[in-house]
């Protein structure tokens, strides 16, 4: 079929969770439940014609066989349209795109997740994957922050589900003091420095706004994490998802195809343009 590599599947929205004033999580199903196989960290193109297509990280874990989920922050025209739909709406979906988190080489290690805002979305896929295979991974610590308590997504998971799993801790923080908030106050990178996890046998995986990622990378360096122990996942404007339309390159690599997951060591070898 001509153009089938750009041809989406039709999926149906089964459930919509309003996470925060600007973020919703869409649960979609294909004909046989999970629309297609993928690995934690991979992305997919969602479209709602005639508004267009945009790329999102898959936030559910591949161990969920019945559906796929996307946490979507309202930011542009496609996300605005996706915030206006109701359950039952059909969407276009194509993927999976990009590489994935190295679930094999993370095995047996302590894991430190560092997320900011909507940056929890790609991490959540890996977190739930690891929790599903709990015995295969060591201590899991999740540092997660947002501007305000109301901007934290996946409240049920971060407050109740994840902390109740053995050897799993969630460290929440918000940028400023808020009435009723008794947790930590401060930016994610400084909370990371404060918590000072030792780097021995530990891998750090981070995603958040570009400025947060930059400071988190610095903080991890100060905590003596080696560049190979630090993994991040990047966001870029994308159109094709297969390394052809051109726009998501950093140097000679395409984030959609060679990324979005990179180690700090890989990033250090690339031009500082992301």
């Amino acid at each position: 079929m001509p153009g089938s590599f750009l041809m989406p599947l039709v999926v149906t929205v089964k459930e919509i969770v309003t996470e925060t004033p600007d973020t919703k999580t869409l649960r979609v199903v294909g004909e046989k439940g999970l629309p297609f196989e993928f690995q934690p960290g991979q992305c997919a193109m969602i479209s709602l014609p005639p508004v267009g297509e945009a790329i999102f990280s898959i936030t559910s874990s591949p161990t969920d066989r019945e559906f796929m989920e996307f946490s979507i922050k309202e930011a542009g025209t496609v996300t605005r349209a996706l915030h206006r739909i109701t359950p039952g709406q059909q969407l276009g979906l194509r993927g999976p795109y990009g590489n994935s988190f190295p679930v094999e080489s993370l095995r047996g290690k302590d894991l430190l997740f560092i997320g900011g805002g909507i940056g929890l979305a790609p991490l959540r896929s890996l977190i739930n994957y690891c929790l599903e295979k709990r015995a295969e991974y060591g201590q899991i610590d999740i540092i997660y922050g947002a501007r305000s308590p109301g901007d934290l997504i996946r409240k049920e998971e971060i407050n109740r589900i994840w902390p109740s799993v053995p050897d799993t801790r969630v460290h929440l923080t918000v940028d400023a003091k808020f009435e009723g908030w008794e947790g930590h106050v401060g930016f994610v990178p400084s909370y990371l420095t404060e918590l000072a996890f030792p780097p021995e046998n530990r891998m750090a995986i981070t995603c958040g706004p570009p400025v947060m990622i930059k400071f988190v990378l610095q903080a991890l360096e100060e905590l003596k994490f080696s560049p190979e122990q630090v993994i991040t996942t990047l966001e870029m404007r994308m159109k094709c998802g297969v390394g052809k339309c051109g726009r998501c390159n950093i140097g000679s690599l395409y984030v959609c195809k060679d990324g979005p997951v990179f180690t700090r060591a890989q990033l250090d070898a690339l031009p500082d343009e992301y």
Partner: protein, 339 residues
């Protein structure tokens, strides 16, 4: 197999070829020359060394619908659009050696890099390419700097060249043999061994060996502050360039029905890399100009082991402020003799 046709019989050849399937060849369009599907009345121009717009659009059209959608309530239906030019055999006639080489560079992205782009690949497989050897380089040509022979086109099915009133055509592939055979009624056998007449080399004294390696540590080189400064951000360089291939994907239509198309885009435009969240990794013309030239001179060699330029000279002719491949390579030090 080498045959020839005399100039006055060419219109008969065009008509015959166009009867078989779309025939793309350089035609005059106002003051421009572009590759268009031939029809009666088109003014064919085999003299212009380089068409104004490159023939890449035969394989990667400037605008191409690939999907139709229909919506009814919450239901969505998607179907592939009938792709133009995929059903019948196509002839691309008169591509210059540099432009054909550029198509081979696009093949690395669209055919060889997984997954293959089916629209491009089908067109490529469906098309017989008759290259036209250059009889005299244009003042802006520098193809020999990139190792291209202006009188040879290794990737062509048929190589054509003009000698006086005769247009010779030599088959280079089995498909080229078949193509000549199919049209033999209009062609005459060449007597003796005919070869394209030699032409002078055109290279502007550029020395490209080692340039990709040399550029590796120079992303932050202050030279970029000078190179980009006069750029207007008009994007003509990317529009006319035979090796630029970036595209956008957009929907067109209304709530109930419409289509999805892809169209050429340009890395010189600010929206090209702007994310919905407001982040732009290439926020100014400096980053955009740097990306375009490093893509051709460093990133393409790193990824595909080939330069992403063929020395066609279109950017020298068209850039309104003289930010072209030759001036940039010189500014970066890629020159044999200092001027």
């Amino acid at each position: 197999m080498t045959k020839y046709i005399t100039s006055e019989r060419l219109p008969e050849l065009w008509a015959r070829l166009a009867d078989r399937g779309p025939l793309y060849l350089p035609v005059n369009e106002g003051t421009a020359v572009a590759f268009r599907a031939w029809e009666e009345g088109k003014e064919v121009n085999l003299e212009a060394v380089n068409s104004t717009v490159s023939p890449k659009e035969i394989f990667l059209p400037a605008w191409e619908t690939y999907l139709k959608f229909e919506r009814a309530g919450k239901k969505l239906a998607l179907a592939p659009a009938d792709a133009n030019g995929l059903a019948r055999p196509v002839t691309a006639f008169g591509l210059r050696p540099c432009d054909l080489r550029a198509i081979e560079l696009l093949d690395l992205v669209f055919v060889e890099q997984d997954p293959p782009d089916e629209l491009y690949t089908r067109r490529r497989k469906n098309t017989t390419i008759v290259a036209l050897a250059c009889s005299q380089p244009d003042p802006f040509c520098f193809c020999t700097a990139f190792g291209i022979e202006p009188t040879d086109a290794p990737g062509a099915d048929v190589l054509a060249w003009k000698t006086g009133n005769r247009l010779f055509m030599e088959a280079r592939t089995p498909r080229g043999e078949d193509w000549l055979e199919e049209n033999s009624r209009l062609l005459q056998e060449a007597e003796g061994v005919e070869k394209p007449p030699p032409v002078e080399s055109a290279d502007f004294g550029l020395a490209l060996e080692g340039l990709p390696e040399n550029l590796k540590g120079r992303f932050e080189d202050p030279i970029w502050d000078q190179i980009y400064r006069s750029c207007l951000g008009c994007g003509i360089c990317t529009y006319i360039c035979p090796t630029c291939y970036c595209f956008d994907i957009q929907d067109y239509g209304h709530q109930e029905q419409g289509e999805r198309f892809r169209c050429w885009d340009s890395c010189q435009f600010s929206h090209y890399t702007l994310t919905a969240g407001g982040n732009n990794p290439r926020p100014t013309r400096k980053e955009r100009v740097r990306n375009r030239f490093l893509h051709k001179l460093q990133f393409y060699p790193e990824r595909y082991e080939e330069f992403g330029c063929v020395g066609c000279g279109r950017c020298l002719r068209s850039c309104p402020v003289g930010i072209d491949m030759v001036s940039v390579i010189r500014a970066l030090g890629g020159e044999t003799v200092a001027r």
